[in-house]
């Protein structure tokens, strides 16, 4: 098994606050690796650093390729695609167009091709539509293709964001609290969906999540973060039994 994402010695500083302090984090190919920890532990910051949204020091490699000097859009093009804790959908576009934007990662035709409608344009547009429809169907939003994204119910907007990321066919998918705000039934369905993303689509997933049932149910590996540092890592069973973790984090909920 090879390593898809390898983060070593990652530090992020916001003024006087060390949001991340020498964090090592990895995602093995074909696994779901969860990142858990109390509020403010630095989970989102880790995703931001990996996807290039905040400056960070340390090493970030995607399948051995150094990402640190790439801009966010270039990291996405390299194969790291993320969703956002605070929904970031394109409310001004239809669901299909939203997802086609994700699929656009794979098309490369330029302005002239768009102006003159070259064969390449039609080929890549058809492929993008097909990929987008496939992704919408995968998350169960097929009948909403023409709906303006802003009109979707909240739970469906979460799924739309997921579909948009999937249409980009990432090597590594970063999901930041996709279950936040979902009801129990929706959360359960989401768990099934994420498992299928790993098993059927072969995409490696890093998941930030507060819902422990979901995390323990679908994760292959778990890394626990507190105050910007790694507290523990291991299989779900090991994490559940780790006394430090129970004290620092799980204890809060119980």
């Amino acid at each position: 098994m090879s390593t898809v994402l390898s983060v070593r010695g990652l530090s992020v500083r916001f003024g006087g606050l060390m949001a991340l302090d020498g964090v090592d984090f990895g995602v093995e190919e074909g696994t779901i690796t969860s990142l858990i920890g109390p509020n403010g532990a630095g989970k989102t910051t880790l995703f931001n650093a990996v996807s290039g949204f905040v400056p960070a020091s340390g090493a970030i490699e995607l399948s051995g390729r150094d990402l640190t000097c790439l801009a966010p859009h270039a990291r996405s093009r390299a194969g790291v695609v993320r969703t956002f804790q605070n929904l970031e959908i394109f409310a001004n576009m239809s669901c299909l167009e939203n997802v086609m934007t994700g699929a656009g990662r794979l098309s490369g035709y330029g302005v002239l091709a768009a102006l003159f409608k070259t064969p390449r344009f039609w080929r890549e547009e058809r492929a993008a539509v097909a990929r987008a429809e496939e992704a919408l169907a995968f998350v169960g939003l097929a009948e909403h293709a023409a709906t303006p994204a802003g009109d979707l119910a909240f739970g469906n907007q979460r799924l739309l964001e997921l579909a948009r990321a999937l249409a980009a066919r990432p090597t590594l998918l970063l999901l930041d609290e996709t279950a936040a705000g979902l009801n129990m039934r929706e959360t359960k369905a989401l768990g099934g969906l994420i498992t299928r993303i790993r098993d059927e689509l072969g995409i490696s997933v890093a998941l930030v999540e507060h819902d422990m049932d979901l995390v323990m149910g679908i994760s292959d590996h778990i890394t626990v973060l507190t105050f910007g540092q790694v507290l523990a890592r291991g299989r779900p069973r090991e994490i559940q039994q780790n006394p430090e973790v129970i004290r620092a984090y799980l204890g809060e909920d119980e």
Binding site: F53, S76, E88, M100
Partner: protein
């Protein structure tokens, strides 16, 4: 495919209707109003790509328009360049200026474009007024030749109008083709959420720069055609007020609608001509109509037209 056919068809119909319009509106005055409509529509369509689709505010489009008008005027009248060459150089020059203006502006996120273009507009205005030797100063510049191409003359207003219709149709066609492509989706994505756009692999800086330069180019084309139509330019036509008027055209027409921008430009160009009859309360009526438009047509003329079509059409099952 279907969208492309529809676009092609609508552009053709639009061009044919405009070309046929002078058959009904035989008066010279009508033709001159139609010419102004076409010129404004060219700028508005470009500005709408920037403002309506990509959500970037420019307060300096009048300056691009004016800069191209002056540049082409000076190059042809003062320097004696062939008109087609002067026009080409002027448009290229404005594109270059926009590109340079965009480099520092789009490195920063936020509303820096509005400020940068506002400042740019003021500077251009000052240069037009103060560089008297070159521009003729506040009283303007005369003696600009009528636009002509090798072997083609547009001396008659009617033939000039036909030229403008063709250029406008081309600009509308180019815009529609871009909008219905991944480039159009990228523009709207940048508007919707810059962070998400980046996460989907869109280079937002480059996308904004591209659409900014393109919209400046459209304004420049219109500016050149304006100068070589009136054969006279003065700084007062290219001030801040015109930039604002252009924004009103785009907003009233309907943000993020190519046809809306055309409709907004035609409407706002024709309206004052109609209101001339009401001498005293002209400005009052103009304001009232604008306010009513914004209140009752929140998504502009384009949105209103869509609603109307929706009401007229028999309800069909969802496809």
């Amino acid at each position: 495919m279907a969208a492309f056919r529809r676009d092609l068809f609508s552009v053709l119909v639009f061009a044919l209707v405009l070309l046929a319009a002078p058959l009904a509106l035989t008066n010279d005055y009508y033709v001159s109003v139609l010419i102004l409509c076409c010129l404004n529509a060219m700028v508005a369509v470009g500005l709408n790509l920037l403002l309506g689709y990509a959500g970037q505010i420019s307060l300096g489009h009048a300056a691009f328009y004016g800069l191209a008008a002056y540049a082409s005027g000076i190059l042809s009248a003062t320097c004696g360049l062939p008109i087609w060459l002067a026009a080409l150089v002027a448009v290229t020059f404005v594109g270059l200026v926009a590109w340079l203006l965009g480099i520092p502006t789009f490195k920063l996120s936020g509303h820096y474009l509005a400020m940068a273009t506002l400042g740019f507009g003021l500077i251009v205005s000052i240069v037009m007024n103060e560089a008297v030797e070159l521009t003729g100063g506040p009283s303007g510049m005369v003696g600009i030749p009528r636009f002509a191409l090798p072997g083609l003359s547009f001396a008659a207003d009617l033939s000039y109008y036909r030229l403008l219709v063709i250029v406008l149709a081309a600009i509308v066609g180019i815009s529609l083709n871009l909008i219905h492509s991944r480039i159009g989706r990228a523009l709207r994505a940048v508007h919707g959420s810059e962070r998400a756009a980046e996460a989907m692999g869109i280079d937002i800086g480059r996308t904004k720069r591209f659409v900014f330069v393109l919209s400046a180019l459209f304004a420049a084309v219109a500016g050149v055609l304006y100068a070589h139509y009136l054969e006279f330019v003065a700084p007062s036509s290219f001030g801040f007020l015109y930039s604002v008027e252009l924004i009103v055209m785009v907003v009233l027409g309907g943000l993020a609608s190519v046809w809306g921008a055309v409709a907004g430009a035609f409407f706002l160009t024709v309206l004052p001509e109609f209101l001339r009859a009401f001498e005293d309360i002209e400005v009052l009526l103009f304001g009232a109509i604008l306010v009513a438009g914004m209140m009752f047509l929140p998504s502009g003329l384009a949105g209103g037209a869509r609603r109307l079509l929706g009401l007229l059409q028999p309800k069909r099952g969802r496809t």
